[in-house]
Assembly symmetry: C2
Homo-oligomer: 250 residues x 2
DNA sequence: TACCGTCTGTTCGTTTTCGTACAGACGGTC
DNA sequence: GACCGTCTGTACGAAAACGAACAGACGGTA
């Protein structure tokens, strides 16, 4: 496990890890390891994508920026997924942007290779389609949550989703960043986070948030977190996935 | 054109109309014309879908119902699309529901046939994937709109999207229905619609809304309507679509 | 150690939406 | 023509989030 930190490995991405040898092998030489620094924009609105990114230790936020400059996250992508689905879905561009929300690594694959791999129609195609379906669920639930739930509930949801992808429970994000992800004022986050800290669920200091009581956060969160998590598990963890994740490829 | 009303025709659905003869022919005998009465639920959460529906004159609303009973629309589907993408994306079910928002007709195709047609990989597969991408855009924009825009702006958006699918400009929907689609109170719709009527943009009476000034509505609407419309046009109206829609198949 | 930029905390009035309650009006049915 | 269910209009206080302004605190750098 500790080797995972010192030596990045494509198997850290769940989609890549699920591929059988004969599908992974031809891709592996083409996969390029890239650093994903916090704040880096992978693509902007209507920009031709050059690569698909398979995050391993990084988290990427998909969001839309309004003419006013305001923005809101519509979904986020970690090691369970891939950034750049429009490359194989057919549009090549999207109206949204993709920005690194948690720094780390990713493997990227050049545009034409993504399309070719998808069209060759093996397990990878199935996986990518299922992942896209889980992304739909995530966006739909974000829409519902934005309509009906409080800033505090949405903060819990965001923290939990991030936590699921950062096993050590130590999130590196300022309140300002959280606010821009959720599309609310920074002050709103200050108050909500203050309440959570007062009640012993989290603790934070200048850009670092530690989750102290995960169950507490879940109890305080709206149902949206669970809906997305269950649906992603269902779509991506059934018979398609039988390999334990971090272990060497058989 | 008037024949379109008296005799339902699969060509009224844009996806079906775009198919070349050799792909449409084997499907045509399997397409079942169904009436879509207002309020009919095509499927509920986690329910195994039995058919995909290709609307012609009907409009279907995809939405999520919270434990509290509140709900919110995440996307809507008319003649440009298909209801039941999880059949070919791989999940078979979704956490959302699909309900008829405007009564009319649709053609439905049995589950296995949908999967077979998708997997045979012709133009239909391309079309379905592109349509799914447009659905992603729609959901993402709904999330953003729910976060940042007023009830009145969202009402305009909803009316415009419906209007695009109901050419005669006479919408059959109560304020109660509109409220449940947008996930707001009925009173909020009363006020917003009252303002629009006062300013001469619409007129309504007991469940019937007439749009009097389309440009006015667009001016009053947020950018979200245009974003979705342009993106759908781009994804579904390029080289894949060259046939004029209502005309007989060549 | 002093400094300074960034991050966090707090305040206050404003706006929007919510929740609740009830009144009025339309239109189809008996 | 009277009735009644449904749809629409209005009002009022409560709650949530916003916008703007400013104070304080942390922590890296000079």
């Amino acid at each position: 496990m500790s080797a995972a930190f010192s030596s990045p490995n494509p198997n850290q991405n769940h989609l890549l890890a699920a591929l059988p040898m004969d599908e992974f092998e031809p891709l592996s030489a083409q996969l390029e390891l890239v650093m994903m620094p916090l704040g880096k924009m992978l693509y902007g609105p209507d920009e031709q994508l050059q690569h698909a990114y398979f995050p391993t230790t990084s988290i990427v936020s998909l969001h839309y920026i309004l003419e006013s400059g305001a923005s809101a996250e519509t979904a986020s992508v970690g090691a369970e997924g891939v950034v750049g689905i429009s490359l194989f879905m057919g549009g090549d561009t999207t109206s949204s942007s993709a920005v690194v929300q948690t720094s780390g690594h990713a493997y990227r694959l050049e545009r034409r290779l993504v399309k070719a791999a998808f069209n060759s129609g093996g397990l990878l195609q199935k996986l990518l389609l299922r992942y896209t379906q889980s992304l739909l669920t995530q966006m739909a639930q974000t829409a519902v949550c934005n309509r009906h739930h409080s800033v505090e509930q949405q903060l819990c949801r965001s923290l939990l989703h991030t936590l699921d992808r950062i096993p050590d429970g130590e999130l590196v994000m300022t309140q300002e960043l959280l606010a821009s992800l959720l599309g609310v004022r920074r002050e709103g986050i200050t108050v909500a986070a203050g309440n959570l800290q007062r009640d012993g669920l989290i603790s934070y200091r200048r850009g670092h948030i530690s989750v102290l009581d995960r169950e507490g956060l879940e109890a305080r969160c709206c149902e949206c977190y669970g809906v997305v998590k269950r649906e992603c598990a269902r779509l991506l963890s059934d018979e398609l996935y039988r390999q334990p994740l971090p272990v060497a490829r058989r």
